[in-house]
């Protein structure tokens, strides 16, 4: 632990020396730096901060340093995260490659693939998106129909993927494709990387109820994909995908708090929009009860996050507990948004234009967006099925 304490002091010093003051303020959605061939920086400070972190390898702290990562172990990475949080340092780089594809390539890729893709992700040179779901497949991911035909020296890909988040801004996509149409559902699926610039790839945004159109549909029309782009074994893509899904679910269980939203939390919103009586209690008893139930639930969820971490550290990991986090994070996240809506009352009913400030509009949009959280990345129903089957061992029909 002494080493770790020393490491913490060094990290703190480095962050204080290197993170510009402007990069310690809460980040808005517009200020996020996303990876990509044509990276945009909202400010010079953002660029400087990104470059300093990239050069330390701390865009991807736990990846091997020889591939552009920080080479930290899990405890050290946690220290870095904690110190960044304490100072308010912004995340320097956003990318699905960092959160999802990178870990999969490190686990399943061959050396050439690692050399080819990992450093680019670490440096933020390529923006990745994900192609799993298909129209009509939904929760039944394994029923996917997008075909990749073996043409000898390449695959010929035809089909379409839906919910390809930010596909219209991405450079590459990682996909699940069917390589053996005769095999049973989960067999015969492979994991393929496709350059979005390849001829035959087109993307259309999908408008959501929240007015956003981050999600897209991506079409593949006779797209030629080199065989070097196959990650893992042919027809064994399902195991790569399962490993990846875990990362996605972890991400989704944390996202409730991380989605760009209003600058206030529920307690602050309650004090501002409802107010307190002479005893310091919220004036509206029903809203007060709704608020405290949520606050207590969030605290319990936060403590459970810590617990799973501590269990892992102490070698007592109950591998079942992480399975609940996607469900509780997104379901309580939805309740948080309903609560904010209720607290703001009339002021959370605006869509656009005058009469509603930025925080109020973010509350409304955030509420609508939250409805997707318990659907994307494995619906709540699927999560409950998984717990019943894997954790409780209940019989299947």
């Amino acid at each position: 632990m002494a080493d770790l304490d020393q490491f913490r002091l060094e990290v703190r010093q480095w962050l204080e020396d290197n993170c510009p003051a402007s990069q310690r303020l809460p980040i808005t959605r517009e200020e996020q730096v996303w990876a990509g061939k044509n990276k945009q920086f909202p400010s010079d400070d953002a660029k400087l901060w990104f470059e300093r972190m990239r050069d330390k390898g701390w865009t991807v702290p736990e990846w091997p340093s020889e591939l552009g990562g920080g080479g930290l172990d899990e405890r050290q990475a946690k220290v870095l995260k904690e110190e960044m949080k304490a100072l308010g340092c912004r995340t320097p780089l956003f990318d699905l490659g960092i959160w999802m594809l990178g870990p999969a390539v490190l686990e399943f890729g061959n050396d050439e693939q690692k050399q080819e893709h990992i450093p680019k992700i670490a440096r933020g040179d390529v923006r990745w998106c994900q192609g799993y779901s298909e129209p009509g497949a939904g929760s039944d991911l394994a029923s996917l129909q997008t075909r990749a035909e073996d043409m000898g020296d390449h695959f010929l890909v035809n089909g379409s993927k839906i919910w390809t988040t930010n596909a219209d801004k991405a450079d590459w996509i990682f996909c699940l494709v069917r390589t053996d149409p005769d095999a049973k559902k989960q067999e015969g699926i492979s994991f393929l990387l496709i350059d979005m610039d390849d001829p035959g790839v087109t993307t259309t945004p999908i408008e959501l109820i929240s007015g956003e159109s981050e999600f897209c549909q991506t079409f593949f029309d006779n797209v030629k994909v080199p065989k070097a782009n196959l990650i893992g074994e042919l027809n064994k893509g399902w195991s790569v995908a399962k490993a990846l899904l875990k990362h996605e679910r972890k991400l989704m269980s944390e996202i409730g708090g991380d989605t760009p939203g209003p600058s206030f939390g529920p307690v602050q919103a309650a004090l501002e929009y409802v107010g307190t009586d002479e005893n310091g209690k919220l004036k509206d008893a029903a809203l007060r009860d709704q608020l405290v139930r949520h606050e207590m639930a969030y605290r319990a969820i936060g403590l459970t996050h810590f617990r799973t971490f501590e269990e892992r550290m102490s070698g007592q990991a109950d591998s079942n507990v992480p399975l609940i986090m996607k469900y509780v994070g997104t379901e309580e996240g939805k309740r948080k948004e309903e609560l904010l809506l209720a607290l703001l009352g009339h002021q959370a009913l605006g869509w656009d234009g005058d009469g509603f400030n930025e925080d109020e509009k973010l509350t409304t949009r955030g509420w609508l967006f939250s409805k997707a959280l318990s659907i994307a990345g494995g619906t709540s129903e699927v999560q409950l099925n998984i717990i019943a089957k894997r954790v409780l061992g209940l019989p299947q029909q």
């Binding site: 929760s139 839906i162 209720a342 009339h346 509603f356 994307a376 129903e381």
Partner: protein
């Protein structure tokens, strides 16, 4: 107590259903939204509704009304909830006209109500001032001035307030926020001097406005009812509004529910229809139960209006609180059960979701009505 529709009311309901599904499907609301319509409803369709008698249905015959009762109007409003039809029915016929009918003098009634019946006159109730429905907290002041009254203050979340020909303004001529004494109602022209009206773009794409009164002067005959004694009238007006709004919400919830059940029967996952999953079946059954209970409550609430029963306040709070909760449940379940497409703008479920939360805040959220119901029952 009447807990079923009679023959005439059923006919009215069927006619409304036909008209609305043909002329004002949910798609019509989308069009209004995407064309950034300044009014928030189609004037032409409103005239058609008036021709069908919907604006005159609850008015007495002496004011060109049909005197058909709120049970019939409720049946129409329920159908309008199914297609999310945007119209000034609630603001003009339920809230505005009730204020005049229940509070106004003969002159006001005979000059204004026939125009409501014919569709010549639209009205809006200017009530809210804070973040939440709280009629007793009204602070807006009306002072005696020059033989009439001078109004100063702000109103928010005024449904159809930007387009209404006349406003029924809730103000205090005495008393302080929190007290039921000193409430007065005033008729103010939509283009009165000193009045600024700004339409707000709401999440449900309907019309609501913020109003600002800067020395707005009205004559003595703009006062509806007795000076400072308007609270009981206002309460009844609001209770009628709450019941009618709850009926609209019931229609929306039923439509949303039925579409979801249909989807459960169509959608394949894991080689079977998702409607065969028992967990979804039970959740669907629970929604059905809640909707059936709500129907009964609404029937009785409309009876309470038509029979001028003393327990209307309780029934109104029961109806509104229940429909707030049921509509929230059904819209949330509808989105979740539709999965990915449930959160797309293309599917119409999102329109119901958005409307439900606006309707919830309008005229009181569930906590407000549970608190009121408990107090009315003496605990």
């Amino acid at each position: 107590m009447a807990l079923v529709l009679n023959e005439e009311q059923r006919l009215l309901k069927d006619t409304a259903k036909d008209f609305l599904s043909e002329n004002m499907p949910v798609e019509a609301l989308r069009t209004l939204r995407d064309s950034d319509d300044p009014t928030g409803y189609s004037q032409q369709q409103w005239q058609q509704m008036c021709e069908l008698g919907w604006a005159s249905i609850v008015l007495p015959e002496q004011y060109d009304g049909l005197d058909f009762g709120f049970m019939g109007l409720g049946a129409i409003i329920e159908e309008s909830g199914r297609t999310l039809a945007a119209s000034p029915l609630l603001s003009t016929v339920v809230l505005g006209a009730s204020a005049i009918l229940l509070g106004g003098n003969e002159e006001q009634k005979s000059s204004l109500l026939p125009k409501v019946a014919s569709g010549e006159l639209t009205l809006a109730l200017a009530l809210e001032e804070g973040h939440h429905h709280a009629p007793l907290d009204t602070a807006m002041a009306a002072e005696a001035h020059d033989g009439g009254f001078r109004l100063n203050g702000n109103k928010s979340f005024v449904v159809d307030g930007h387009s209404a020909d006349k406003l029924v303004v809730v103000a205090r001529t005495s008393g302080t926020a929190g007290s039921a004494d000193g409430f007065s109602l005033f008729l103010v022209d939509g283009d009165a001097k000193g009045l600024t009206r700004q339409r707000r773009k709401m999440v449900d794409s309907r019309g609501a406005a913020a109003l600002s009164f800067d020395n707005v002067d009205v004559s003595a005959d703009a006062l509806i009812g007795e000076l400072g004694q308007a609270w009981p009238v206002l309460e009844t007006v609001l209770d009628r509004g709450r019941v009618c709004l709850a009926a609209e919400m019931l229609g929306g919830a039923l439509e949303c529910f039925e579409r979801t059940v249909e989807y459960l029967k169509e959608r394949d996952q894991f080689g079977v229809k998702i409607g065969s999953f028992q967990a979804l079946q039970h959740r669907a059954s629970l929604m059905y139960i809640e909707l059936e209970l709500a129907k009964s409550v609404l029937f009785d609430a409309f009876s309470a209006i038509d029979d001028k029963r003393a327990d209307l306040p309780q029934l109104a709070s029961l109806a509104k609180a229940r429909m707030n909760d049921v509509f929230e449940l059904v819209t949330n379940e509808a989105v979740q059960m539709h999965g990915g497409i449930g959160v797309t703008d293309e599917l119409e479920i999102g329109f119901f979701l958005k409307r439900s939360r606006v309707a919830t805040q309008l005229l009181g959220h569930s906590g407000f009505h549970r608190d009121r119901y408990a107090s009315l029952c003496g605990y």
